[in-house]
């Protein structure tokens, strides 16, 4: 019997219409490109174009009024660097970011360790912890603006109530205030003026001490850092918590069997095992805090006297408010090398993450 005479398999005998498009999605390259396309368009239009435009602006004398790109070499950069406010802003960017991130990483490891325990109402606790992250940062900052208000700060109110800040009759009385204590231990500089707000109530003059959080250089600095910490803590905690939960139960049991105490367990087992994911959380935090403009814009506007100025807000003030596009672009570009380094480290860490 020749091949041609073989009975046909009935399911394939009816000629089926060729519908190649049905299998188009099976082509992985095509599928991959289709799925990536929106992201690529987005990145080109909203990231790459502005980035190269900024580089072009920074080498020109463009202003908002005159956006023609006349090449002026490094002249803009020279002018930007010589400005003392720029120097403060550059310094602050690193200072805020690094101090805030050290606090965030330390606190979030502690918080994650607590949240990893079994206790009643854990879900509520976790929800509350996550709250600052889901609050729009502008809204959160406005809330903090009120908390740190020069006159009506609820924090000051509490401090007065517990006796750290004086709430006294008449100007003559002097009560040891928190500011004094802070001065003594060197957190607040000696010559910081204590502001006394007084008002007449009937015949009595009542005076309040206020911390003036945002009006004094050092407390303003701490305030900005505190808000950054408040903001980054939830995400970092949740990421590290995920790392903690991913430690196999058997490993924890092995630690118990090996008779290892909690401190050695933390430093020699837990910490090394969550180190990679903690590193990633830290690098994310660095990028967020380093590029953030909102906290300073809402809380201090760089004040007092540009002491809390940061690069992105300074770039905005110069480039948009001051209409000097080229200077604004140059200032902003100073953030680029740091971000590039952090991004490269992050990507290396992610691709190298040990799978055990």
């Amino acid at each position: 019997m020749s091949v041609a005479e073989q009975p046909k398999n009935p399911t394939t005998s009816a000629p089926k219409k060729e519908r190649t498009w049905e299998y188009a999605l099976d082509n992985e390259r095509l599928l991959g490109m289709t799925l990536l396309l929106p992201a690529v368009i987005y990145i080109i239009l909203l990231v790459a174009v502005p980035f190269f435009l900024a580089i072009a602006y920074s080498f020109s004398d463009a202003t908002i009024g005159d956006q023609s790109l006349d090449f002026v070499g490094l002249e803009t950069y020279e002018r930007v660097i010589k400005n003392p406010t720029f120097q403060t802003a550059l310094y602050n960017n690193f200072r805020f970011t690094i101090i805030a991130q050290v606090l965030v990483t330390t606190l979030s490891i502690i918080l994650a360790l607590i949240l990893a325990q079994d206790f009643r109402g854990k879900w509520l606790f976790r929800f509350l912890i996550l709250l600052p992250w889901v609050t729009p940062i502008a809204l959160g900052s406005v809330g903090w603006l009120y908390m740190l208000d020069t006159l009506y700060s609820p924090i000051d109110y509490v401090l007065r109530e517990v006796g750290f800040l004086a709430n006294v009759e008449g100007k003559g009385e002097f009560v040891r205030s928190l500011t004094n204590i802070l001065q003594d231990i060197g957190i607040v500089e000696k010559d910081t003026a204590l502001k006394l707000n007084c008002e007449m109530r009937g015949t009595r003059e009542i005076c309040f001490f206020n911390m003036q959080w945002l009006a004094q250089p050092d407390t303003a600095l701490y305030s900005v850092i505190a808000v950054h910490v408040w903001r980054m803590l939830p995400l970092s905690t949740i990421i590290i918590l995920a790392g903690l939960t991913a430690i196999p139960k058997d490993i924890k049991d092995a630690v118990a069997i090996d008779g290892v105490g909690p401190i050695r367990e933390f430093f020699e087992v837990t910490l090394p095992l969550i180190a990679p994911i903690t590193g990633i959380a830290t690098l994310f935090g660095l990028i967020y805090t380093f590029t953030d403009v909102i906290v300073v814009a809402i809380l201090t506007k760089g004040n007092p006297a540009n002491e809390t100025q940061v690069l992105p807000y300074w770039a905005y003030l110069k480039g948009i408010q001051g209409t000097n596009l080229s200077e604004g672009a140059a200032i902003a570009l100073f953030m680029f090398p740091f971000l590039l380094v952090v991004a490269v480290i992050t990507l290396t860490l992610i691709s190298r993450r040990e799978v055990t």
Binding site: P248, D250, I251, D253, A254, A256, I257, D258, G259, V260, G261, R264, E268, V269, P272, L273, E354, T356
Partner: protein, 354 residues
Amino acid sequence: MSTVETVALVKHYDNDVIAVNSIDLHIKEGEFLVLLGPSGSGKTTLLRMIAGLEKVTSGKIYMGGRDVTHLPPRARNLSMVFQSYALYPHMSVFGNIAFPLKAKGLPYQERKKKVEWAASLFGIEQYLQRKPRQLSGGQRQRVALARALVHEPSVFLLDEPLSNLDAQLRASARDEIKQFQRRIATTTIYVTHDQVEAMGMGDRIAVMNHGNMHQIGTPQELYREPADTFVATFLGSPPMNLLNQKECIIGFHPEHFLPKDIIHEESPRFEFPFRVTRVEYLGADRFVYGIVPSESGHTRVISKIPSLVTVPLETDQLYTFAVLKEDMKYFDKKTGKRIDPIPFSMAVFEHAEV
């Protein structure tokens, strides 16, 4: 070295699962006890309670006569090998083996000596500087054993330590663990769901199911005198054949179910009509699958015939097979418990249409 004893040990999980139901165990000094049972029977839970990793719902645990029920693992001087090996992935092999010693505060030189001793026992000296991920499954298992052993525990717990190895490696690792345990004579509790492993390794075997202890005994005892139908059908490959009769359940091992002609004429025996459905040749043995009539219709039965016996057996043919009276086991129909031999009607076999 120490004895291990559990008294009416119970574990309820929050979800109302009774994982371990009133278990009494008495493990002798230096004994190798195997906890055997199907998956989910509560073996791990029982072992973890003995280790101190799991809270006890009720009951007591004694080690060397001391009540350790509420003591943490490190107060029990035991060590454990986990199914996953649970090696510390960020530490070298040396670091892994040395870790329990570090916890005991041994100085570096002594740690080093002990680690080298433990590593040489398992032939892993050349891997001391490697990380666990750079080792094969078998090597990891040795590291886990070395770590468990290095601080000379008085009780050694193993939870399915061989289940991640391939069949060949498993057989050799089985030998090694057994020999090694003989040498150090440390009281050992070994969990497995593999009855071949259990029969080969255990001084005694404790058979569990659904959190209950069915029988504890030597491999021979379990095989010859199974306490109930569960034990009877869980052990042996292939396991015991059971036939449902009117009066009781009768059971016989496949190797006791043989063609009538090869059994000595005068031996008292039971004869069964047996229709062969399939014959398997497995080197030393021939497995003959077929059906026998019984109270509840036809029952599938297996006969295991040594290849020395060359009686021809064809599929779809009817033969007469027989079981010696002394090899027949009897079980209660309701409880499944082993009972003394009782007479049962052979009528169903005599006029059977198979």
